[in-house]
């Protein structure tokens, strides 16, 4: 056994690759975790939107079934716009934080947060002001309308909470040039919410007109 104790001199090709470069290469486990999380979330909403059309077309009657008025578009257009626009400062924030420009990054993140908060406020306005005729329990149309938008808004609220943590971490220097990844993961989730809001806008607000 002692004959085995000599120090080896490996010559395999991967030997040279094994010396880790200074900057990490490849996707992280966190990246894949977020991708898969978004996949499962997206499937949930996709199924929900498919259910919307299923219920609409399964019965042969009119839609909305009990003669509710068609959805108002004012607040919903504003909220969808706000969330879609917020994608831009989010993308800028990912870059600036990674470059280590803390103030710029914080500014951008705060802008994203403000737009997200605007989304939530507009959604509440939509519920309160412009569309009070139908309720959650009046018919399938009302049920779909409130639960789909409600579930999405709940996700945005969670996103806003996460964003607070990211902003605090950046301000404290826990996130920055040396550790930019959580901002990028946050951004992935945020993009997902924005794209989703467009899909919901089209299905829930626009499609009843068709």
């Amino acid at each position: 056994m002692t004959t085995m104790e000599r120090r080896p001199t490996p010559t395999t090709p991967e030997r040279t690759e094994r010396h880790a470069p200074e900057r990490p290469v490849g996707h992280t486990t966190g990246y894949w975790g977020m991708v898969l999380f978004i996949c499962t979330e997206a499937t949930t909403f996709a199924t929900f939107l498919a259910s919307y059309f299923y219920l609409r077309f399964a019965g042969s009657g009119p839609w909305p079934p009990t003669g509710d008025p068609l959805p108002e578009l004012f607040w919903s257009s504003l909220e969808t716009g706000a969330l879609l626009v917020s994608v831009v400062p989010m993308a800028v924030a990912v870059r600036t934080v990674a470059k280590g420009r803390r103030t710029g990054g914080l500014l951008m993140l705060a802008l994203v947060w403000a737009l997200g908060a605007a989304f939530v406020s507009f959604q509440i306005m939509d519920y309160l002001v412009s569309y009070p005729q139908s309720t959650l329990s009046s018919d399938a149309f009302g049920s779909l309308y409130y639960t789909i938008t409600g579930l999405h808004t709940a996700h945005v609220v969670v996103g806003l909470l996460m964003l607070i943590a990211v902003i605090a971490s950046t301000a404290l220097g826990r996130l920055g040039k040396r550790r930019p990844e959580p901002v990028a993961l946050m951004a992935m989730y945020w993009y997902f919410l924005a794209v989703l809001s467009l899909a919901i806008y089209v299905v829930v607000y626009i499609s009843p007109y068709a």
Binding site: P24, W32, L36, T43, S51, W63, S138, D139, R179
Partner: protein, 638 residues
């Protein structure tokens, strides 16, 4: 070979770095360590034990059900008890036994098989376990109070709507959704672990088939669970807050539930069966003394099954009145999905024929699996024939079919896997002779229990009836089934006894008792907390047999990037080729997974009993704990 059965390469590696690693990976002892552990092997064992316990409880329910059916017009159970018992039996066997049991194997063996030190997200892993355990306790707690779900495991509306006590159904909707958190998190964890943490050199083409099957299953979980969660959410909203998703009088539709449920439900069959097939694909090469035949085809078959499985759900609904066009489509898909299974079946039998067979209890269970899965498979093909499906669906024929698939196709492989991996998990051997008896009794009991159900089904006996009249030709078959359930029960008890005996008296197991081909056998029996003292470089799909992989454990024993002695670290490699990327820091043990899971349990329980202010408090506590958890991440320098 030394007398203690330690592989020489591992012995040398351990001598070099074992002592340091032991210290680095040492866990806190006692109750605190028990709650805070993130060690994938301890969590895996827990999964197996907890799922085994749920299997026992659910199995006892089944024996009680069979006892009610032993004679016509039996008065042993009243209908309400019968209906709750059969619903809970199905629900818990599907959700709280098979999948978690296979997740337990995955937890223990996936990191070992790919040559890494832990799962990608160890604390998430602990969290999945706690959620699984707590949701299981919640659902089983419903039975003593006669609050158990009672609308069948697929919980069709409107029966599950206004026609049952609300609390029974809410145990189902909330319990299943609660468990869904665990399953989803666990699945994501498996995928990321297999993608990013394989030992250097293990390209996807060298990944063990078992790992492929767990990954395929996990992908299915990611995409199949959302429809189920959505359906449960809708039903919960209907019951509690008066939404109208399933109310036809207000624009809802009852068939929507069926579509959503089976959009999950049929993939779920493969979620259950695929990892079990993976176990079989691990056992057969070992005991046929050759590599598995047609490895790439089996991988294609596994992935293909996972994809096609999403296109067959409506064959559960042929009696609903679908259009002929859609029935034709789903019939075609249903028949297509048997081709991947056919490929695997031929590959297994071919491997045996081309190899040299060593008979062990695990291999006998694999034989039993092939016979049972073959029968379950051919009856499955029959359901692709729409007319025949309409004739026997919801009869005992379908009960026979899916027990051949689920007991034969999943429980027999689980037992095979237990006999196969027991020495690795516990460091003890089991008695082979007793193992043969276990197989004999279980296999005989299983066939006596389920085979007659084919016949009673063809003779017109519908499923889910708590009693039946004499003179319909069903009496003798039901009697045989019930006797079979007793034999099976005795066989399973004997199996339990074998494992208990092994724990207490079994001889010490060597590192590689069976002469296997995959990397889990390169660790100690049982493995050390760090699994591999030196992460090896994998040279082939059968690393234990290639004569090179093990040597690298010795070669790199002074290489800090392979030994990682200073902290909890693991190697990260590229997704496709398994090229080394970097070493990464892994989280330490933590009580947070337990605390967050507990908060969710409290939230769900408060929601169940409509105590809304507590829902708010516990949800806030859980969110706070989760925030604290995410705030303190590994590698963060304050």
């Amino acid at each position: 070979m030394s007398t203690s059965g330690v592989l020489p390469e591992r012995r040398i590696a351990e001598q070099t770095v074992g002592a340091v690693l032991d210290e680095t990976w040492e866990e806190e002892p006692g109750l605190k360590g028990w709650i805070t552990t993130v060690n994938h092997k301890r969590i895996g064992r827990r999964y197996l034990v907890t799922a085994g316990l749920f299997f026992t409880l659910s199995g006892i329910q089944a024996v009680v059900l069979r006892t009610q059916l032993i004679t016509p017009n039996n008065q042993f159970l009243d209908p309400e008890w019968y209906n709750q018992l059969f619903t809970l039996h199905g629900t818990t066997m599907i959700f709280w036994f098979v999948t978690p049991m296979l997740f337990g194997f995955g937890n223990f063996f996936l990191p070992l098989m790919i040559g890494t030190r832990d799962m990608a997200f160890p604390r998430m892993n602990a969290f999945s376990y706690w959620v699984f355990m707590m949701s299981g306790l919640l659902i089983f707690a419903s039975l003593p109070f006669q609050m158990a779900p009672n609308a069948g495991w697929f919980n069709y509306v409107p029966l599950s709507g206004d026609y049952q006590q609300q609390i029974n159904i809410e145990f189902y909707t909330l319990g299943v959704a609660f468990l869904g958190v665990s399953t989803t998190v666990g699945a994501i964890n498996f995928i990321v672990t297999a993608l990013k943490m394989r030992a250097p050199g293990m390209s996807l083409a060298r990944m063990p088939i078992y790992v492929w099957s767990v990954v395929a299953t996990s992908f299915m979980v990611v995409f199949a669970l959302p429809p189920l969660n959505l359906a449960n959410f809708m039903l919960f909203m209907d019951l509690r807050f008066g939404t109208k998703f399933f109310d036809p009088a207000a624009g809802g539709d009852v068939v929507l539930w069926q579509h959503l449920f089976w959009l999950f439900g049929h993939p779920d069959v493969y979620i259950i069966v695929l990892p079990a097939l993976g176990i079989i694909s691990s056992i057969i090469p070992t005991f046929s003394r050759r590599a598995i035949m047609a490895y790439p085809l089996i991988v294609f078959a596994t992935v293909g099954t996972a994809i096609i499985a999403f296109g067959v759900w409506a064959h559960h609904m042929y009696a609903v009145g679908l259009s002929n066009v859609s029935m034709t489509f789903f019939a075609a898909a249903t028949l297509t999905i048997t081709i991947p299974s056919g490929i695997q079946m031929v590959a297994w039998v071919g491997t045996m024929l081309a190899g040299r067979i060593v008979i062990t209890p695990a291999m006998l269970y694999a034989f039993g699996f092939i016979a049972a899965f073959m029968i379950g498979g051919v009856t499955g093909v029959m359901f692709g024939v729409v007319g025949f499906d309409q004739q026997v669906t919801d009869s005992y024929f379908v009960v026979a079919h899916f027990h051949y698939v689920l007991f034969g196709g999943a429980v027999l492989p689980i037992l095979a896997g237990l006999f196969y991996w027991w020495p690795k998990m516990t460091g003890r051997m089991t008695s082979p002779k007793a193992g043969y008896w276990s197989f004999g009794l279980v296999f005989f009991g299983f066939n006596l229990l389920f085979f007659p159900m084919h016949i009673s089904g063809l003779l017109g006996m519908p499923r889910r009836i708590y009693t039946y009249d004499d003179g319909l030709g069903w009496t003798v078959w039901n009697f045989a089934s019930t006797i079979g359930s007793y034999v099976l029960g005795v066989g399973l008890l004997l199996t339990l006894g074998i494992f208990a005996h092994s724990l207490l008296r079994g001889p010490r197991a060597p590192d590689d008792p069976w002469g296997s081909n995959t990397l889990e056998w390169a660790t100690g029996s049982p493995p050390k907390a760090y699994n591999f003292p030196v992460v090896p470089t994998v040279h082939s799909a059968n690393p234990m047999w290639d004569g090179q992989t093990l040597t690298t454990m010795e070669t790199y024993r002074h290489d800090e990037q392979r030994t990682m002695t200073e902290e909890h670290m693991s190697v990260r490699t590229s997704e496709l080729d398994g090229r080394f990327e970097m070493t990464m820091l892994m989280p330490e043990e933590s009580p947070l997974p337990f605390i967050v899971a507990l908060c969710i349990l409290a939230t769900v329980t408060s929601l169940l009993f409509s105590v809304y202010f507590l829902v708010g408090i516990f949800a806030a506590l859980g969110t706070a704990a989760l925030a604290y958890w995410l705030w303190h991440r590994p590698g963060v320098e304050e």
